[in-house]
Symmetry: C2
Subunit: 346 residues, 2 copies
């Protein structure tokens, strides 16, 4: 598998590429497959998860499938009352803000994510041998921000207030979420995924010092608990230029980089070849570039591949090509197909 | 004026502080003064602008007043059909996306911002001698993003598409917006402001290379055109950690820093004391910290003041205390008053 080779310091048979959010909203066959059903309901239907996860692999010849799921799936499976509202995102019925609510946080029974494990099983059978299956979970901070704010947020003021003003309460909540994340990832790993990505989507709202004190210990525990499973662990958050070194210290094998930081700069920043961990780098085409036409796409991909090569020369284990954030909903699927084809020839 | 002293490398008589968005939505007297009138209408009422601008200076003893206005005010004055919609922000009636629309971009007649110049005149009379009056404009990129997207945006996909795919069209639009910004700032300077802040609020969505090619030449022209006016020029955008050096090269006297980058790190990054421009630094309390109680506020302010001192030791001209972004609407005004009082004693 080219993706696993790049993640582990071996020479891939071709340049591995996948795109965050490749499964889902940009594809007409996705909307057809969902047939108007709610997103959360779909995430617990193994056949449908398998089909949606396979769609971009078939259409674009991606080198990896990323399990179709959502960050809040394990929270829902643990019994927290929430839904995914079209146009808004996750909405939590009773946002978690008190000591009583934190004390009552449920644990995740692996049986309650059996549908996700079943989907992984179906995908392991269906995916061609060269394609990696990437499992997926939200990191504790990003889960906490949804639970505390009650949904997506612009400023995370309630989250940061609890973090800074009630640190013991904060760490108890983060501890519960860390347990849930570990259980969810282990269920996927036991079912057969080839790699996992831990999304700390909103960590970029924090300074490095705040991240180190309130977030890193919990993300580190997630990474450590699955370190022995023998599969590469990818870690990513958007707008995390200031956090790349700290996020690498929590222990991933691959660090995802958004489009604001060139890959060779990222490799240097996390200490590749200079006594830091020689992680692989993943990224980092600005998803808006896919709207700008083939000439611009080729120019940007050529630059990114060159910067990725410099990162590897400097000590990074490898380079996995990806976007610097998720595929945007209005992206032309044919532009994605052509970009992937180009990446495999460059 | 302590703020002007800190901006120009002199020793201020006390530690200067002002907060972005100090005038407006967090103050009950602001909502009373507006009495339900539309925001844009209020921005063109000199007496009301003067009153709203004065409110936080009176209440919090800030060392500077920032002119109550909005980034789109000069666009409206130039004749572009737009409004500020409560809960949404600026909404442009006909978003600018074609060569014809760019060719038809209006110029700004200084007479059409006479109300703003009048407000400045009233404020010059009313402000105590030690308080600086800061004028204000949006930078060309941020104005372009509103005009092209039609309002606030999350991903700036249309803006970046025109920038990357139609660079000549992009630069023509940016040229028009640069002219408008220069005219608007000069009108404020002639009316008597003591300093100006150029907000490139959304520049943090760009990589440094993209910023350098498509944005910096225009922001540089704004800075150069007002360089001879003899007042400090502040430059700020949120999430601009990767851009601080490039934004400093466009020529401001003071660089604003958000909470993600410690002030001493920022001073080093822009080259203070190492052959770069020895700008002053401004910032950088996370606005959410104002929700976390006095003990946390004091701890964070103490840290920021220490980092500001290190920045000055390293070669920065001075430190102006501010938030790392604007005051959030639900902030307790009393927490702001106590924070300012504390800053003046630390």
């Amino acid at each position: 598998m080219p993706l696993i080779a790049a993640a582990t310091g071996q020479v891939p048979s071709r340049r591995p590429v996948w795109f965050m959010r490749q499964a889902g909203r940009s594809l007409p066959e996705y909307h057809e497959a969902r047939a108007g059903r709610g997103m959360l309901e779909c995430c617990f239907d193994p056949e449908l998860v398998c089909e949606i996860t396979m769609q971009p692999v078939r259409r674009h010849d991606m080198d990896a499938a990323i399990l179709y799921s959502d960050i809040v799936v394990p929270l829902r499976a643990a019994g927290i009352d929430l839904d995914i509202v079209p146009g808004t995102g996750p909405v939590i019925a009773d946002p978690i803000r008190t000591a009583e609510q934190v004390a009552a946080m449920p644990r995740l029974d692996p049986a309650s994510v059996g549908a996700i494990a079943s989907a992984v099983g179906l995908l392991v059978d269906e995916l061609p041998a060269a394609k990696a299956l990437i499992g997926f979970a939200g990191a504790p901070f990003t889960l906490a921000s949804y639970l505390i704010e009650g949904g997506p947020s612009r400023n995370y003021e309630r989250t940061k207030t609890i973090m800074l003003a009630e640190p013991e309460l904060w760490h108890r909540l983060m501890g519960s979420l860390t347990d849930i994340t570990i259980t969810f990832l282990k269920a996927q790993i036991e079912a057969g995924v080839d790699a996992v990505q831990l999304f700390d989507s909103w960590a970029g709202a924090l300074s490095e010092a705040t991240y180190e004190t309130y977030v890193a210990p919990h993300s580190s525990r997630v990474m450590a608990e699955i370190a022995g499973c023998g599969i590469p662990r990818i870690h990513f958050g958007v707008g995390t230029g200031e956090l790349l070194a700290a996020m690498t210290r929590v222990g991933p094998d691959v660090i995802g980089v958004d489009w604001r930081v060139p890959l060779d700069v990222a490799a240097q920043r996390v200490g590749c070849g200079a006594g830091g961990r020689d992680v692989a780098v993943q990224g980092n085409l600005d998803p808006t570039v896919l709207f700008a036409g083939d000439a611009v796409i080729e120019r940007e991909l050529t630059r990114i591949i060159r910067e990725g090569e410099r990162a590897v020369d400097a000590g990074a284990r490898g380079h996995i090509l990806n976007l610097g954030h998720g595929v945007l909903p209005n992206t032309d699927p044919d532009a994605i197909t052509r970009a992937v084809e180009l990446i495999h020839t460059l």
